[in-house]
């Protein structure tokens, strides 16, 4: 700080506390709502302190879901989300590492063409080509499957660029030394490049996991079988299907469970998260 002003410092703390409160507010309300008894919402106003029905609400959602609204047990949807998020994350990391390696460490015809082909995916989010993509997946028989949930989303320009940039900073001498020692490209990739990339892979893992977990439109399009519902899209079914009287105490219990895994990932891996976020966007 340039000058010492106790009053402005106090004002700054007040602004921040208000900001934090505003950011936390919706989640606090959700947690409070998820601990109420079923009849509590009929009285017209929402209570502001937690009730005593947390365990039964969470257990009911975890084990049986809202069958009236066509939503399967949350435990099962969380499992589906986890499988989808991990498949997308690992798939993106694997194919991006391989293609960045090819682009940086080889010279071959059409190299630039492939680079641009990968770049173009940045400009074609699922949202702008909903129907034809759905048709392709339907023709391939991938509706209602984990392959359909993950494979169409694993092409990644940002991850490829990040690894390309990182590989360019790896000292030339490493490659020369490896070649002098007779290491082939795959051995060099596995024993030298991958270990060097661990921090970048971990940072990207955090970002991609959140991306995968929070997918919404895609699971909504291609899952009609409730066995494959993911939790983020399943919640929407709960709020709309039981129209007029969504069972908010149960819906909010599901919301809290759906939001928890990615929030925990950020809280426990904050440094990797910040690194991943600021580097993928450059």
């Amino acid at each position: 700080m340039v000058e010492h002003r106790p009053l402005s410092q106090l004002a700054a703390h007040l602004i921040l506390i208000a900001g934090v409160a505003l950011v936390l507010f919706p989640v606090y309300i959700a947690i409070v709502a998820s601990t109420q008894a079923p009849g509590e919402f009929l009285r017209g106003t929402l209570p502001l302190v937690p009730g005593g029905h947390a365990l039964e609400n969470y257990r009911a959602m975890w084990e049986s879901g809202l069958s009236r609204a066509g939503a399967p047990p949350v435990g099962q949807m969380l499992f589906n989300s986890l499988v989808m998020a991990l498949a997308i994350t690992l798939g993106k990391l694997a194919i991006s590492l391989l293609s960045a390696f090819a682009i940086v460490y080889f010279r071959f015809p059409f190299r630039l063409f492939f680079f641009w082909l990968i770049f173009v995916t940045l400009m074609l989010p699922v949202e702008v080509r909903i129907i034809p993509t759905f048709q392709v997946v339907a023709d391939l028989g991938m509706l209602n499957s984990f392959a359909g949930l993950s494979i169409p989303l694993i092409a990644s320009a940002t991850a490829t660029f990040l690894f390309r940039q990182f590989f360019m900073t790896v000292p030339e001498e490493l490659l020369e030394a490896a070649r002098v020692d007779g290491a082939g490209p795959l051995k060099f990739f596995k024993d030298i490049l991958l270990p060097l990339s661990v921090t970048n892979i971990a940072a990207l893992f955090v970002i991609l996991f959140i991306y995968g977990w929070n997918q919404y439109l895609w699971p909504l399009l291609i899952t009609t079988d409730s066995d494959y519902y993911t939790v983020v899209m399943g919640i929407q079914r709960m709020t709309t299907a039981a129209d007029g009287d969504p069972q908010w105490h149960l819906v909010m219990a599901a919301v809290v469970m759906a939001a928890l895994p990615p929030v925990l990932v950020i809280l426990f891996m904050q440094r990797l998260f910040v690194k991943g976020l600021t580097e993928t966007e450059k």
């Binding site: 936390l24 309300i29 106003t45 129907i131 919404y216």
Partner: protein, 294 residues
């Protein structure tokens, strides 16, 4: 584009390494996009039996359609509202956090986690808080003399989705603003302080101009976010209503094509959206090449 000075020999290996990425890209990105382009030039009859080539008629229809034009302006209001709200809140919080020494990391942790919340879930959370019959905010507004109802009032519904979308994005903007603030040399600020500039004056004459690159970058990212990543916010809450008041372009493509099965029109809308993404991406990358500066 450069490679390493020394490279591996290999005729097939590089293609094999690229194959998974390229195959996924071709099948699930390029092919559907070409299909969208092609379908945008066709029209199907009501039973899906006949398709005929109609040239640019789908596009001409769209731009004569008041619903579509409304959707364009709704999207503009939504994108600008979300971007302004989220960025100004984040800038205020980031400049304030940047003054702190010991508590900086604590506040940062408390402010960044909403990044992890899916847009759809952010929508449901705010939908609940603003619920006209049991929500807490309408209850307070009622006491202040305003009857909140996002089921009937388009303005209320728009305010709701903007708040939900902006809330989720504050964390992202906050982190980038904080990084930008920390790269401003302290000596500049000290020099201004010695010359007698107070904190407010220092912010507007030194800090804010030096943040221009970050601000510009975030503006593009936020507009892209508001236009393309907020499908979940709309779909999980207002579903475009009431009376199309929150029917943003991305939601309309889905509703017209997937629900309404108007394939030609939906494809034409897809093509227009693609053009918008391409334009925004070009802006973003050109800017990254040479940052806005003096």
């Amino acid at each position: 584009m450069q490679t390493k000075r020394m490279t591996f020999p290999g005729r097939w290996l590089p293609y094999a390494l690229l194959a998974p990425q390229v195959i996924v890209t071709l099948i699930f990105f390029i092919w559907p996009s070409l299909q969208a382009l092609y379908m945008s030039l066709l029209r199907e009859d009501a039973f899906g039996l006949n398709t005929s080539f109609v040239g640019l008629a789908n596009f001409r229809r769209l731009f004569a359609d008041t619903y579509y034009l409304d959707s364009l302006s709704v999207t503009a209001v939504f994108a600008i509202g979300t971007t302004l709200l989220s960025m100004s809140a984040a800038l205020l919080l980031a400049t304030t956090v940047n003054r702190m020494l010991r508590s900086r990391n604590g506040y940062t942790t408390l402010l960044v986690w909403p990044y992890a919340i899916a847009p759809a879930i952010a929508g449901v959370l705010w939908w609940f808080i603003f619920n006209p019959s049991i929500g807490i905010v309408p209850y307070v507004l009622e006491m202040l003399g305003y009857r909140w109802n996002h089921r009937t009032s388009g303005t209320d519904a728009m305010a709701l989705v903007i708040i939900a979308a902006a809330w989720k994005q504050i964390a992202y903007n906050f982190l980038f603003f904080l990084a930008g603030l920390q790269s401003i040399p302290q000596s500049l600020i000290e020099a201004a302080a010695i010359d007698g500039a107070g904190p407010v004056k220092r912010f507007w004459t030194i800090v804010f101009p030096l943040l221009t690159p970050t601000t510009f970058f975030l503006m593009v990212v936020n507009v892209v976010y508001a236009m393309f990543d907020t499908f979940g916010v709309i779909h999980a809450t207002t579903q475009g209503g009431p009376a199309q008041a929150t029917n943003i372009l991305v939601y309309k493509v889905y509703a017209d094509g997937f629900v309404g099965l108007n394939l030609g029109s939906s494809a034409a809308q897809s093509v227009i959206l693609m053009a918008i993404v391409v334009a925004l991406t070009v802006v973003q990358f050109r800017f990254i090449e040479r940052r806005v500066n003096y």
